[in-house]
């Protein structure tokens, strides 16, 4: 094979990878682009002209910012609930002996393997059968979000916990730290990055959920519900302002987080 040929083969995989990344990035580019769009009509999906009006008045479409706030509230509470419950389960799985380990693991795995449409409709069937279908809303969305975030928290925290070196904890115990001190001074700080990652994952799962929410939202409108409703009537370009802002905030968190971790190797 010629030298040029070998160079091509060596770089072909990378070239394909870059094209695939381009495919994955294309819609994000369009979300940013469309946030500056000045659409000719409500049902226009093409870039008709440049404007910064969407950014200077993001809350112009009625109900959109309220929906964003609702999503933030639910996301925050669901993250809190799922992270606490899931972290406890992860500790039990890695650090404790108990009967029914296989059944427990299966119960944690199943929600991740069930299509959302099945989970959402099951919950609606339950709420209806106990006569709650008329009062669905904030609380039912929250309950559902904690349910489907829990498994992801367990898996994430468990991975961190299982990879920990227990010699630090043994050293602390040797130095007469009691279990409580060992836990808060040694174990928790070492597991914390895993818990934080799980919390961020929960928040993004909850904030972004449409399908399960759609079955159990009553009259409460979250941001994805708002977008779904708006898609039938014509999407206001401000939706892309929210999309772009979400992207920027998440990117800052991830990049900032990894720089922080690099400075403090735990």
């Amino acid at each position: 094979m010629s030298r040029v040929g070998r160079w091509v083969v060596d770089h072909a995989v990378m070239a394909v990878a870059i094209v695939v990344l381009g495919y994955m990035f294309l819609p994000i580019f369009f979300v940013v682009l469309m946030s500056f769009n000045d659409p000719e009509s409500r049902l226009s999906y093409t870039f008709d002209g440049f404007t910064t009006a969407n950014w200077s008045d993001p809350c112009a479409p009625s109900g959109m910012c309220g929906a964003v706030v609702k999503s933030l509230e639910i996301g925050f509470l669901a993250t809190l609930g799922a992270t606490v419950l899931g972290t406890l389960v992860a500790f039990a799985l890695v650090r404790h002996r108990f009967r029914g380990r296989a059944a427990t693991s299966l119960l944690i795995f199943l929600p991740m393997a069930t299509p959302e449409v099945v989970m959402g409709s099951s919950l609606l069937a339950l709420f209806t059968s106990v006569g709650l279908s008329g009062s669905l809303g904030f609380w039912s969305i929250l309950v559902a979000h904690v349910m489907f975030c829990l498994s992801f928290v367990v898996v994430t925290v468990k991975a961190r916990l299982a990879g920990l070196d227990s010699s630090m904890e043994q050293a602390a115990m040797d130095l007469y730290a009691n279990e409580w001190q060992t836990y808060w001074r040694i174990t928790f700080p070492m597991v914390f990055p895993g818990i934080l990652a799980a919390a961020l994952l929960s928040f993004s799962l909850s904030f972004d959920d449409f399908i399960v929410t759609n079955f159990n939202h009553g009259n409460t409108i979250t941001f994805p519900m708002y977008v779904w409703g708006a898609a039938q009537r014509g999407i206001p370009p401000q939706v892309n302002v929210v999309g772009t802002t979400m992207f920027a905030v998440a990117l800052l968190l991830v990049v900032g987080g990894s720089m922080f971790q690099r400075r403090r190797p735990v």
Partner: protein, 302 residues
């Protein structure tokens, strides 16, 4: 970044080492109780209620109440009335999963072996789609594939698409959206298992006169199989149940079973048939997963 890859890594079956300090006291049960109770009440009980609802008398209504008549005929109604959507769900999800493998494998391979100091940057790029809303980025495809967009223009210039051909509101658009939305779930587990490969194995293969293709086929590919299996499941399952792409990028004739379930539950209020559709989808996926995992020989995944 660590979150998504940890979640994916957790599914590839790297079970934690046996507990270092196993404690036999009741503390374990106390830690498990709240979480497991939550899953029992809001995941297990609803699943049983869904099965019960699927057996209600189809002549009842939400206002008048349903009688439990054990109407297995609901399943017959569901299967015969909605054969098209069921088949489309499996077909679209299958094609999207296949395409995702084709796209994700070179990408995961490049990140694991060729990226050098760009590794973290590329991993962030992979999960970047998750940073913005699922619905908003699916709607972005509506702009990309629109009738006077650059993709349609290019395909018309190349005569792949006829002069009045379009992409939006076709099955091509739905599959494109499905592939796009779930491809990160394929990349991350594939990367996790490729990353773990001991490069000395490949060197040993080369010492034994294996060329690049042979060492890929006999070493890299088999060792990446757990990631491939996890990735295909993580892609296929949500894709088969998805109806956002079919709704936003397709039209009525592209509707998948998710659209039908949504419509029956929330618009028609025909709970028994809707529940029967949901149960069939769930059973079809469980059956496919079991057969597939057994064939692929990676049962430790479950």
């Amino acid at each position: 970044m660590s979150s998504a890859s940890a979640a994916a890594g957790g599914m590839v079956g790297d079970e934690p080492a046996p507990p270092r300090r196993p404690r036999g006291s009741g503390a374990g049960y106390l830690l498990l109780l709240p979480g497991m109770l939550w899953l029992a009440i809001f995941f297990v009980v609803p699943t049983f209620q869904l099965v019960a609802t699927s057996l209600y008398d189809p002549n009842g209504s939400l206002e008048a109440g349903y009688a439990m008549t054990g109407s297995v005929s609901n399943y017959w109604t569901a299967l015969t009335s909605f054969t098209g959507p069921f088949m489309r769900s499996l077909l679209y999800a299958g094609v999207a999963t296949g395409l995702a493998v084709v796209l994700a494998y070179p990408l995961a391979y490049a990140i694991a072996f060729k990226s050098g100091r760009w590794k973290n940057f590329m991993l962030v790029m992979v999960i970047a789609p998750f940073f913005t809303s699922f619905l908003v980025r699916t709607l972005a495809w509506k702009s990309i594939l629109s009738d006077n967009g650059f993709v349609v223009d290019a395909l018309k210039t190349l005569h792949i698409l006829g002069p009045d051909g379009r992409l939006l509101a076709t099955s091509v658009a739905v599959v494109t959206g499905l592939t796009y939305n779930f491809v990160p779930f394929m990349v991350l587990p594939l990367y996790a298992s490729l990353e773990k490969i001991d490069l000395r194995l490949i060197e040993a293969g080369q010492d034994l006169y294996a060329n690049g293709f042979t060492s890929f086929r006999k070493i890299t590919l088999p060792l990446s199989l757990p990631g491939l299996v996890a990735g295909t499941l993580l892609t296929f399952i949500p894709a088969a149940g998805d109806y956002i792409n079919a709704e936003l990028l397709g039209q009525t004739k592209n509707y998948m079973i998710g659209n039908v379930i949504d419509n029956l539950f929330l618009v028609q209020l025909d709970y028994p048939i809707a529940a029967a559709c949901s149960v069939v989808l769930m059973l079809a996926i469980v059956a496919l997963v079991l057969v597939y995992v057994r064939r692929a020989g990676t049962e430790e995944l479950l």
